[in-house]
C-alpha cells in the first residue's frame, strides 16, 4: 500500500489516557492539565487521567470506553513501551479494536524522570501525547505473523547454569546442543571445594549432573568448541560452531598412558597454577566428556618458527628436561642431518626469538642439542620407506648440499654429491676452525649421511672436471650449492702486496694442512664470525700479536657474543671503530695505515653507518694482514644466469635457475650465510625437486618455509627468573692447541636449562604419545570441525571470570609468595587438589599459624568494580571455617567492609563463624606488606587495615593472606554480546530484558540468559536462572509458534520504478528483483522490518508497516505542535515561546 495514498482520516475517535504512575509522573508533569489540553485536539473523543493505567481498572477503562464511546484509536501516555506496550495492546484488543490501533507516549522514562522542571516537563508531555495522537489516526489494523519454533535449543556455556538448563530441557524431551569452550563442562563450580553455607562437597553434587549431561540421549555435548556465527531469529537460528580439534578421537579410553609419557609440563588451568599438567591432558579426573585433549596452538613456538629448517627445538628441549635423550636425538635427526655440528656451530637464530628471553635470557637451545647428541653418542638418520628411481646430482657438499641430499634421500631418491675439494663438508670442513668443530665430528656426521645411501665424490669440480650439461644429462635434477669461497677485497692501495692474505683461504689452508707462514704481528680486518675464527686460528698458530680491526663498535659487531668474549680472553686485541686505508711496504707488508671512525645514522641493515674521522690516520707496523670482510661465490664456470654481485639468479620460492631442471641455493645464491640458512635452502630445493618429480604445484603452501615469526603469544606474567646456563669452556691457557674450546653441558645443567622452557606452543610435537596409545586415539592430523546447527532458542550461560588481583599491587599478589587468591585456596583445600587438601604456604610444606582473608578485592571499589560481587563474603566465611576445621590452632582474620549475608542459611553461617572464633575486622585493607616494623612482624605478612569499629589503624601479622576477588564479566563478553545481538552493560555483563520483571530474556527474542554472565551470582541463583531460562524456552517450544510483530516492508508493485536501490539496502537479502515485471519485491518471510529500504526508496513506494511515512511525519508534526507559529514570524523578529 502506498503511503501517499492513505485516505485522510478525520473521523477517527481517539481516546487519550494519561497515567499518573502513582507520583512517578504526576509529581513533575501536570497530568490533569495535559489530559484537559489533549481533549482539545479535534481527533480526540475523550481524554482521561488515571493513577495507574496499567492496573486492571485502568485497562478496563480503555475497554469500556471503546465499547461505550465507540473509540477507534487509543493513546496511552505512561511509561516506556518496552514496559507496557503489550499490556495496552491487549486492552485495546479486549475492547474490540485491532491491537495496532494503539500508540504509547513515554512520559515517564523520557520525561518526568529526567527533569525537575515541572513546566518544561508538562510542555514536553503535551508534545509527546500530541505526537502520539497525530500518529495513531494513521495507524492501520495489522495481524501478528506466526513463526514456527524449532524445538532444538542451543546452550552456550557448560557451567552449573548451562548444565541445569540443558538437563531441564532435555529431560522434557527436547534436543539440546551444549557448547562449552573448555575441554570439560563443569565451569567454576568444578573447581570449588565446598559450597556455602551447607558445606556440601561441590564436586559431589556437581559431577552426577555432569555425567547426566554426558549420557543424556537428548543432549549433544560440544566441548572445546565455540560459537562462530549466529544468523536468523527466534524460532529459527542458524548457528555455526567451531569444534576445536583435541587431536584425540572417540577411540580414547581415558587410560592416561599418554599423560604419563608426555614430556611437556605446564601449569594447570584447572588448578589455577597451583599444580601442573601435561600437554595432552584431562582437566580433572571427573571431566565430562571423559577424554583427553592435546593442547596445540595455531602456530609453532617461536624457536621452531624462527629456525630456518624448523628444527623442533621445543620438542627436544622438552624431552631432555624429562631425561628422554634417545627420544630427543630421534626427534632432532628427523629434521637435521648435521645435528652435532649444529649443536656446536649453529648461529642459533632460534635463541634470538626465544620467548624465555622476555623473562630473563633465551634458552641455550643449540648447546642442548649438542648435549643430547653427545650424551647418546650414536644415532641413525631416517632411511627411505621406498626407493624411487629418479636421480639427483648435487654440486657441493656443504651444509646446503647435505641438507638437500638428506631430504631427497629420505624420500627415496638416488642422490650423488660432487665436491671440488679433497674433503667433504664445504665450509664446515674448510671454513670453521678445528677448535670449534672437530674433524672427527664432521667425519662422523657425513658418514651417517653416506650410511643412508648418499654418494659423495670428492675432488670433482663441476664446470672443470665435468660440465653442468653432462650432469643435466645424467641426472633428473641438479642442485647447485657451491658456496662462496672467494674473499672480497677492501679496495685500498697496497692490498696486493705479499703478506696480505684472504681470510677464507687462510682458514682453508690451515684446515687442509697446507703450510701457512705468519709473522709476529698479524692484523685481521673484519668483525664477523670468520674474522674471529681467523684471529683465533692465527693465535693458535703461534702468532704473538693478533689485532682485529673493525669499523663499527662492539655493539654492532656481527660475530657471536660469546666468541668475542673468548677471543678477548685468549689475548686477541680488538680495535673498534677503526678501518684500514692503506697497506704500505716495498714487496711485502710492512705497515698499515688505520683510520678512526665514528658512527652516523643507521643504514639499510639497521646498524649505524661508520664515518671516517678526518686526520685520525695512524700507522701500525705489521707482518701480515688477513682480510675477512665477506666472501662471494665463484661460479663463472657453470654458465648460469647471475645477479650483479655474482650470485646465481633463482626463483625466490622454488630456487629454480634459468634452467628448468637445475636448482641452486646456499651461499652461491644469497652470499655468505649461516650454516642453518644454507641448510634451509637445501631443504627448499629438495622440496621443489620432489614437487617437480611428482608434478605437484611448485608454489602452493610454501609460506612457512624458512624462518618466520610465529603468531602465538605466551603469557610471561609471574614467571620467576632463572638465568641461562653457561657452557663450560677449557681454560684460556690451554687454548694454544686446536682442542675443542666448548665442553658441553653436564646432565644436571642440561636438565635444568631445558626446564626453563616456557612451552610456548604447549604441545611440542614430539608425537611420543602416539607411540603408547593402544587404541590409536591420538591423531595429529585432525583439524577443527565447523558444525552447523539449527535451533529455535538460545540460552547464554557463559559465566564469569575472577578479577585479576595483580591489578591491586598493594595487596602483593604475585610479589609476596604467601598471598593467595580465593581460587588457589579452593584448589588447595580440595582433597583431590594439588596439596591433597592440606592448607600450606607456597613452599607446599609449612602450615600457616595465622591467616587473613581480605574481602571485596576489586569489588565495591571505585577504581575497579563499583558493584558488590555478592558471593565473596560468603565464601570468605567458608574459607575461615575450613581453616578452623583443618588447622584448629590457627588464628583467622576476616577483613570486610560490610558483611553481606542475604540468603537462606547465610546469616546463620556467619553466626556460626562468630562462634568458631574468627576475628572479624571491619575495614578495607590498605596494604599487605612484608616489611616488618617490630620483632613480632618479622618474617610475616602484615595486613594494614583500619578497624572502623574501634577507630584504629591495625597491623595484623599473619603467615597467609587470601584475597577474595570480584566476579567480573568474561573478557570477551562484548564480542559474545555482538554475536548474539543482545548488548552488555558497562561492566560487561549481559543486559536482561527488564532488570526486575524479566532478568531471564534479552532484547533479542529467543535469546535467554542464565547464571553469572548476567551479573554476579552464587550457585543456587545460577541454578534457578538456568531452570527459569529452560522453562521459558520449554513454553515457547510447547506453544510451537510465536507471534511476531507484523512490522514488515512491502513494495507497491504498480508504482515501483525498478531502480533496485532497495535491493542492496536490505541486510537480509529479503528484496528480490522480478525481471519480467521490472519491479522489486519484498520476501516477507525474510524481512525483519528495520525500515532501511523504506527510507531509501526514491519514489517513496515502500511501506514499512506500523512505521509508515504518514505515521512518522504526522508524529513529527504533532510533536512540534507548539512550534508551528514560527512559520508566520517575519524575519528578524524575536519569537516568543
Amino acid at each position: 500500500m502506498n503511503d501517499t495514498k492513505s485516505p485522510p482520516t478525520p473521523k477517527e475517535k481517539v481516546g487519550v489516557y494519561i497515567c499518573h504512575c502513582g507520583t512517578n509522573i504526576a509529581k513533575v508533569v501536570d497530568v490533569v492539565e495535559v489530559a484537559k489540553w489533549a481533549e482539545k485536539n479535534p481527533h480526540v473523543e475523550i481524554s482521561r487521567e488515571n493513577k495507574f493505567m496499567c492496573s486492571s481498572l485502568g485497562q478496563e477503562l480503555i475497554e469500556q470506553d471503546i465499547k461505550e464511546k465507540g473509540l477507534t484509536r487509543i493513546v496511552v501516555a505512561s511509561c516506556s513501551p518496552h514496559m507496557h506496550e503489550r499490556t495496552f495492546r491487549t486492552a485495546t484488543e479486549n475492547g474490540g479494536l485491532n491491537p495496532f490501533l494503539f500508540e504509547m507516549a513515554n512520559i515517564r522514562e523520557h520525561d518526568s524522570w529526567t527533569t525537575d522542571d515541572e513546566e518544561a516537563a508538562t510542555q514536553k508531555a503535551k508534545a509527546l501525547v500530541n505526537g502520539a495522537i497525530e500518529r495513531v489516526v494513521h495507524h492501520q489494523p495489522l495481524e501478528h505473523i506466526p513463526v514456527e519454533i524449532n524445538p532444538n535449543t542451543l546452550i552456550v556455556g557448560g557451567g552449573i547454569a548451562g548444565i541445569t538448563a540443558a538437563l531441564e530441557l532435555a529431560d522434557g524431551g527436547n534436543q539440546v546442543y551444549l557448547v562449552e569452550k573448555q575441554p570439560s563442562i563443569g565451569g567454576h563450580m568444578a573447581q570449588l571445594d565446598k559450597t556455602f553455607p551447607t558445606l556440601d562437597c561441590s564436586a559431589c553434587i556437581l559431577t552426577p549432573k555432569m555425567s547426566d549431561v554426558g549420557n543424556h540421549p537428548n543432549i549433544e555435548l560440544m566441548t572445546y568448541s565455540e560459537v562462530e556465527s549466529v544468523d536468523g531469529f527466534i524460532g529459527n537460528f542458524d548457528v555455526t560452531v567451531r569444534k576445536k580439534t583435541s587431536s584425540v578421537n572417540e577411540k580414547c579410553t581415558a587410560c592416561s598412558d599418554c599423560e604419563e609419557i608426555c614430556p611437556v609440563i605446564v601449569s594447570s588451568e584447572f588448578d589455577v597454577g597451583m599444580g601442573t599438567r601435561t600437554a595432552i591432558y584431562r582437566p580433572f579426573p571427573q571431566a565430562i566428556p571423559n577424554t583427553y585433549t592435546l593442547s596445540r596452538t595455531t602456530d609453532d613456538s617461536q624457536c621452531v618458527a624462527g629456525c630456518p629448517i624448523h628444527q623442533n627445538a621445543h620438542g627436544y628441549i622438552s624431552l631432555i628436561a624429562e631425561g628422554k635423550y634417545e627420544e630427543a636425538v630421534k626427534l632432532i635427526v628427523e629434521d637435521n642431518p648435521l645435528p652435532g655440528i649444529c649443536g656446536r656451530a649453529c648461529a642459533h637464530p632460534c635463541e634470538d626469538v626465544c620467548d624465555r628471553g622476555k623473562v630473563d635470557e633465551p634458552i641455550s637451545i643449540a648447546f642442548l642439542k649438542r648435549f643430547a647428541m653427545d650424551k647418546v653418542g650414536d644415532y641413525e638418520l631416517l632411511r627411505p620407506e621406498k626407493e624411487r628411481k629418479e636421480r639427483v646430482g648435487i654440486v657441493g657438499s656443504g651444509p646446503s648440499g647435505l641438507a638437500c641430499a638428506y631430504d631427497l634421500r629420505k624420500n627415496g631418491y638416488q642422490v650423488k654429491i660432487f665436491e671440488a675439494l679433497p674433503a667433504a663438508g664445504g665450509m664446515l670442513a674448510v671454513g670453521i676452525p678445528e677448535y670449534r668443530l672437530q674433524s672427527a665430528q664432521l667425519k662422523k656426521e657425513i658418514g651417517k649421511i653416506k650410511d643412508i645411501g648418499v654418494d659423495i665424490q670428492l675432488n670433482t669440480k663441476v664446470g672443470e672436471d665435468i660440465t653442468l650439461e653432462e650432469l643435466e644429462k645424467q641426472y633428473d635434477a641438479v642442485y647447485i650449492a657451491t658456496g662462496a669461497h672467494e674473499e672480497r677485497k677492501i679496495g685500498i692501495p697496497g692490498e696486493d702486496l705479499a703478506g696480505v692474505l684472504s681470510g677464507i683461504k687462510f682458514l682453508r689452508d690451515v684446515r687442509l694442512g697446507n703450510k701457512v707462514k705468519l709473522g709476529d704481528n698479524v692484523i685481521v680486518v673484519g668483525g664477523g664470525d670468520s674474522a674471529i675464527d681467523t684471529a683465533r686460528t692465527a693465535k693458535r698458530l703461534g702468532v704473538k700479536n693478533v689485532t682485529m680491526v673493525y669499523r663499527r663498535s662492539r655493539k654492532e659487531m656481527p660475530a657471536d657474543f660469546d666468541e668475542i668474549e673468548e677471543a678477548l680472553q685468549e689475548g686477541i686485541n680488538i680495535e673498534f671503530l677503526t678501518n684500514p686505508v692503506e697497506v704500505k711496504g716495498k714487496k711485502t707488508v710492512e705497515e698499515v695505515t688505520l683510520q678512526r671512525m665514528e658512527l652516523g645514522t643507521p643504514d639499510e641493515s639497521g646498524r649505524r653507518r661508520p664515518i671516517p674521522i678526518e686526520g685520525s690516520e695512524f700507522d701500525v707496523p705489521c707482518d701480515n694482514i688477513i682480510i675477512t670482510i665477506g666472501q662471494r661465490p665463484d661460479i663463472g664456470s657453470l654458465k648460469l644466469k647471475t645477479k650483479d654481485w655474482g650470485g646465481v639468479e633463482v626463483d625466490e620460492v622454488t630456487l629454480q635457475t634459468s634452467k628448468k631442471k637445475v636448482f641452486a641455493g646456499g651461499d652461491c645464491v644469497v652470499g655468505p650465510d649461516t650454516i642453518v640458512g644454507a641448510m634451509a635452502l637445501g631443504k627448499t630445493a629438495a622440496e621443489s625437486i620432489h614437487r617437480m618429480f611428482e608434478k605437484l604445484d611448485m608454489y602452493a603452501g610454501r609460506e612457512k618455509e624458512g624462518a618466520y615469526l610465529s603468531n602465538i603469544e605466551v603469557d610471561i606474567s609471574g614467571r620467576e627468573k632463572a638465568p641461562r646456563a653457561r657452557i663450560p669452556t677449557i681454560p684460556a691457557k690451554e687454548r694454544s692447541s686446536f682442542k675443542e674450546v666448548n665442553l658441553g653441558f653436564t646432565e644436571e645443567a642440561a636438565q635444568q636449562e631445558a626446564n626453563r622452557c616456557l612451552h610456548c606452543s604447549i604441545c611440542c610435537d614430539c608425537h611420543l604419545c602416539t607411540t603408547v596409545c593402544e587404541p590409536d586415539a591420538i591423531d595429529y592430523s585432525m583439524e577443527d570441525e565447523i558444525v552447523d546447527i539449527d535451533v529455535g532458542n538460545i540460552i547464554i550461560a557463559t559465566g564469569y571470570e575472577l578479577f585479576d588481583t595483580r591489578q591491586i599491587p598493594q595487596y602483593g599478589y604475585g610479589r609476596l609468595d604467601n598471598v593467595f587468591t580465593s581460587l588457589e585456596f579452593e584448589r588447595m583445600v580440595n582433597a583431590s587438589g594439588p596439596t591433597e587438601g592440606k592448607i600450606v604456604l607456597r613452599d607446599f610444606e609449612s602450615a600457616p599459624e595465622s591467616v587473613a582473608i581480605v574481602h571485596c578485592v576489586g569489588s565495591r571499589d571505585e577504581n575497579y568494580h563499583k558493584y558488590c560481587s555478592q558471593v565473596c563474603c560468603m565464601y570468605s566465611l567458608k574459607f575461615a571455617h575450613l581453616v578452623h576445621e583443618r588447622l584448629p590452632d590457627a588464628q583467622v582474620y576476616n577483613c570486610y567492609i560490610d558483611m553481606r549475608t542475604p540468603g537462606k542459611g547465610y546469616e546463620e553461617f556467619y553466626d556460626r563463624l562468630l562462634k568458631e572464633g574468627t576475628h572479624f575486622i571491619r575495614g578495607k585493607v590498605a596494604e599487605v606488606t612484608d616489611s616488618a616494623r617490630t620483632q613480632e612482624e618479622e618474617g610475616k605478612l602484615i595486613v594494614q587495615v583500619e578497624d572502623t569499629l574501634i577507630g584504629r589503624q591495625r597491623r595484623v601479622p599473619v603467615d597467609m593472606v587470601i584475597l577474595s576477588p570480584a566476579m567480573e564479566a568474561q573478557p570477551d563478553s562484548k564480542e559474545t554480546s555482538q554475536l548474539f545481538k543482545m548488548g552488555c552493560d558497562f561492566d560487561g555483563f549481559f543486559i536482561e530484558k527488564h532488570p526486575k520483571l524479566d532478568p531471564i530474556a534479552t532484547m533479542t527474542e529467543g535469546v535467554f540468559l542464565a547464571g553469572a554472565c548476567q551479573g554476579p551470582k552464587d550457585v543456587p541463583d545460577s541454578v534457578a536462572q538456568g531452570a527459569a531460562a529452560a522453562s521459558r524456552v520449554a513454553s515457547l517450544i510447547s506453544r510451537g509458534t510465536v507471534m511476531m510483530e507484523p512490522i514488515r516492508a512491502s513494495i507497491d508493485a504498480e508504482a515501483c520504478s525498478g531502480c533496485k536501490i532497495c535491493n542492496t539496502m536490505c541486510p537480509y537479502n529479503a528484496i528480490e528483483f522480478i525481471e519480467e515485471d521490472g519491479v522489486s519485491h519484498v520476501i516477507t518471510a525474510l524481512c525483519q522490518g528495520c525500515g532501511t529500504c523504506v527510507a531509501a526508496c526514491p519514489s517513496g513506494v515502500i511501506t514499512g508497516a506500523h512505521f509508515t511515512n504518514d505515521q512518522l511525519i504526522s508524529q513529527i508534526e504533532g510533536l512540534l505542535w507548539d512550534m508551528r507559529e514560527l512559520e508566520a514570524v517575519p524575519a528578524g523578529k524575536e519569537e516568543k515561546r
Binding site: 523520557h110 541486510p1067 525483519q1088 531509501a1096 510533536l1119 524575519a1131
Partner: protein
C-alpha cells in the same frame, strides 16, 4: 529572569539501543535538558532525510539521530547506512546555511543512558548558543533559495 531560549530537538531513537538508552537514563533518574522530543523507529536506518527536513520545517531547532554502535545494529548494518545518509544530509544542510550542530548523530547502546543524556545536554547548549533555526527565514527567505518540496500527506 530574562527569558532564555529553550531549543527543541527532535530525536530519532532506534528501538533496540538508543531508545533503551533513553529509557535507562530515565530509570537511573539522570537529569538532562527537557529539550529532546523522541520518536521511536525500529532502526536508525529508517530515518529518511525528509523526516529531518520535516522536523526543521515544523520548527525544530535541532535533530538528533541515535542508533546502536557500529557492529551492534539489531539489523546488522542499518546504522552504517544511517551514517552515510547523515553525512550526505549534513553536507546539503550546510549549503543552506544550517549549522552542523543542528543535526547530530550519536551511537548509544542500551546501557549508555548517561552518554545519550550528556549528548542531549551538550547539543542543547550548542543550539542555545546558535539561537532558533528560523527555517522559513533562512532557507526560504531573502537569499533566493528555493523551498524543498516536501512530500505532504
Amino acid at each position: 529572569m530574562s527569558e532564555q531560549f529553550e531549543p527543541v530537538i527532535v530525536g530519532f531513537l532506534c528501538n533496540w539501543c538508543s531508545y533503551r538508552a533513553a529509557d535507562l537514563a530515565g530509570t537511573a533518574r539522570i537529569k538532562y535538558a527537557p529539550s529532546l522530543r523522541p520518536i521511536r523507529v525500529m532502526c536508525s536506518g529508517r530515518v529518511d532525510p525528509q523526516f529531518v527536513l520535516k522536523a526543521f520545517i515544523n520548527g525544530a531547532d535541532g535533530v538528533l539521530i541515535a542508533g546502536c554502535h557500529p557492529g551492534e545494529c539489531h539489523y546488522l548494518n542499518g546504522n552504517i547506512k544511517t551514517l552515510r545518509r547523515f553525512l550526505l544530509l549534513k553536507n546539503t544542510l550546510s549549503q543552506w546555511g544550517i549549522e552542523d550542530e543542528r543535526v547530530q548523530l550519536q551511537w548509544a547502546s542500551a546501557s549508555e543512558g548517561i552518554i545519550l543524556a550528556e549528548r542531549v545536554n551538550k547539543m542543547t547548549e550548542e543550539i542555545r548558543a546558535l539561537g532558533p533555526l528560523r527555517w522559513y527565514d533562512k532557507v526560504l527567505g531573502g537569499n533566493g533559495a528555493v523551498p524543498i518540496p516536501v512530500k505532504e500527506k
